[in-house]
């Protein structure tokens, strides 16, 4: 069985079978990570460049660790410390790197569609590690893996995605994935942070009421308020946002069930999530990070087979 694509640009163009294959392969890589030697030789003839045009801690470390656990050779590129700062174009930079015999490119970029552009112009496999406000496919996959691990299934689950839906590539990848796998999705947040036609476009429920959404869902994936992406004021203050959409212990205690709490990080503690929620036993935030390595190993492994 093989993936239907040689790049991972987004969840949008994956099939249901692709997603199932990545998730089941990730289960086996999770087992690898529990062994005394947490490493397999699968990619020892593969060289990967991590091209980060935008800041990242978690995703970059996670990819780098996944690559090392697969025995790949890796090189790291950060735009701020490279010739990109001297005005070199994206394609020139990448072609220069590829001439050093690099097989795969992991890229994060602030421009939506940058990895798609790259995939059309270079022979190497491209993996999107987050592009602008479009997609963050490996985050979508690791969130799905974590939901499945915790609840045993994806199909039929009720998942709420709460917060800044408008600027969130994590939300978009999660929605594509969960809908493809048969879960129900509700997006919840202030009207200014939810795209107007999202219900028609992506088949999700829309709610502006946090309490109702929490009553409805089995899993709440809480997004970070992305202050760096907001050029205009979309809500009056962080304090006001927190009062209307912040998840507190008190809110969860009044539910007659225990829902699963997720967050892609980094958390703004006391804004979208209180500390006693983030650190509680119903939160799987740190498992998400752990699963991220296994899921990225699965993606890299499955894409590495396609010769240039």
């Amino acid at each position: 069985m093989q993936l239907s694509t040689r790049h991972l640009l987004g969840i949008k163009n994956l099939t249901k079978e692709d997603i199932s294959l990545i998730l089941s392969t990730a289960e086996q890589f999770k087992e690898v990570l529990q062994r005394p030697v947490k490493k397999v030789p699968s990619l020892r003839d593969v060289t990967i460049v991590n091209l980060f045009y935008e800041n990242s801690t978690r995703t970059r470390f996670s990819f780098e660790l996944a690559e090392k656990r697969l025995s790949a050779d890796t090189i790291n590129f950060a735009a701020s410390t490279s010739s990109a700062a001297k005005g070199e174009t994206l394609l020139d930079t990448v072609n220069n790197i590829l001439s050093m015999k690099v097989n795969m490119v992991v890229m994060r970029h602030s421009a939506s569609g940058a990895p798609h552009f790259l995939a059309q112009h270079i022979p190497a496999s491209v993996i999107n590690a987050g592009d602008g406000i479009n997609e963050h496919p490996t985050q979508g996959l690791l969130d799905a893996f974590s939901i499945k691990e915790k609840t045993g299934k994806l199909e039929g689950n009720k998942v709420a995605i709460i917060g800044d839906i408008m600027h969130s590539r994590v939300a978009q990848s999660n929605i594509y994935l969960l809908k493809k796998m048969g879960a129900e999705v509700t997006v919840c947040g202030p009207p200014t942070l939810i795209p107007k036609y999202i219900s028609e476009a992506l088949g999700v429920n829309v709610s502006y009421n946090l309490k109702e959404t929490l009553d409805w869902c089995d899993v709440a994936n809480v997004l970070r308020i992305q202050l760096e992406r907001q050029n205009q004021v979309l809500f009056s203050s962080l304090r006001e946002y927190s009062i209307a959409y912040g998840i507190t212990r008190k809110l969860l205690d009044r539910l007659h069930k225990e829902i699963v709490i997720m967050h892609p990080g980094p958390i703004n503690r006391g804004v979208e999530l209180d500390s006693d929620v983030a650190d509680s036993k119903q939160s799987i935030i740190l498992q998400q990070v752990e699963n991220g390595v296994a899921v990225r190993m699965a993606v890299l492994y499955l894409l590495s087979g396609r010769k240039n």
């Binding site: 069985m1 093989q2 294959l21 089941s24 392969t25 086996q28 087992e31 690898v32 062994r35 005394p36 030697v37 490493k39 397999v40 030789p41 699968s42 003839d45 492994y301 499955l302 590495s304 087979g305 010769k307």
Partner: protein, 167 residues
């Protein structure tokens, strides 16, 4: 399609291998039986079930090893892995690897590489149902053999409907 072992012969061969293993490993405390996915895991399960019948007083520890990530032809084709089930510490234990067919020896080489990432066993033995001896590409031989057969390199030996057949 030619039958190498009928279902009756298969069952007799499994019993014979189990008896040999039971004789050598009368004390099962420090022995771990490991079937190689997928065919070896099936045969391993049958052998261990027989062992358990022969000596119900001791539990035979049985795991399954998947070698997908260690194959030396990985760049030819990427395969989806099978389940790995190795919930024990193999450090200083005797591990008996079990496979259905010993052919080129490459699977066993990959299995040894996989196994050593779980620890350093005191000893590793190999038990196979069918040995296609003349096609070996690596210096590997089995300690317990169900049946040695002469085959053409292009032929395949498979377990189909409870019989071992040559395709």
């Amino acid at each position: 399609m030619q039958a190498l072992l009928s279902s009756q012969q298969l069952s007799d061969t499994i019993k014979q291998l189990a008896a040999e293993l039971n004789k050598v490993h009368a004390d099962k405390k420090d022995v771990i039986f490991v079937g190689i996915q997928q065919g070896g895991a099936v045969i391993g399960g049958l052998i261990v079930a027989e062992l358990q019948k022969m000596d119900p007083s001791q539990k035979a520890q049985y795991g399954q090893l998947d070698i997908t990530f260690y194959r030396d032809d990985i760049r030819k084709e990427i395969l989806a892995p099978d389940a790995m089930n190795m919930p024990f510490n193999i450090e200083n234990k005797t591990v008996v690897l079990i496979d259905d067919v010993l052919f080129t020896g490459r699977t066993i080489k990959a299995a040894l590489d996989t196994l050593l990432d779980y620890g350093r066993p005191a000893k590793v033995e190999l038990c196979v149902l069918i040995d296609r001896k003349e096609h070996r590409q690596f210096p590997i031989q089995a300690d317990y053999v169900g049946k040695t057969v002469e085959t053409k390199k292009s032929e395949k030996v498979k377990l189909v409907n409870g019989e071992v057949v040559l395709l």
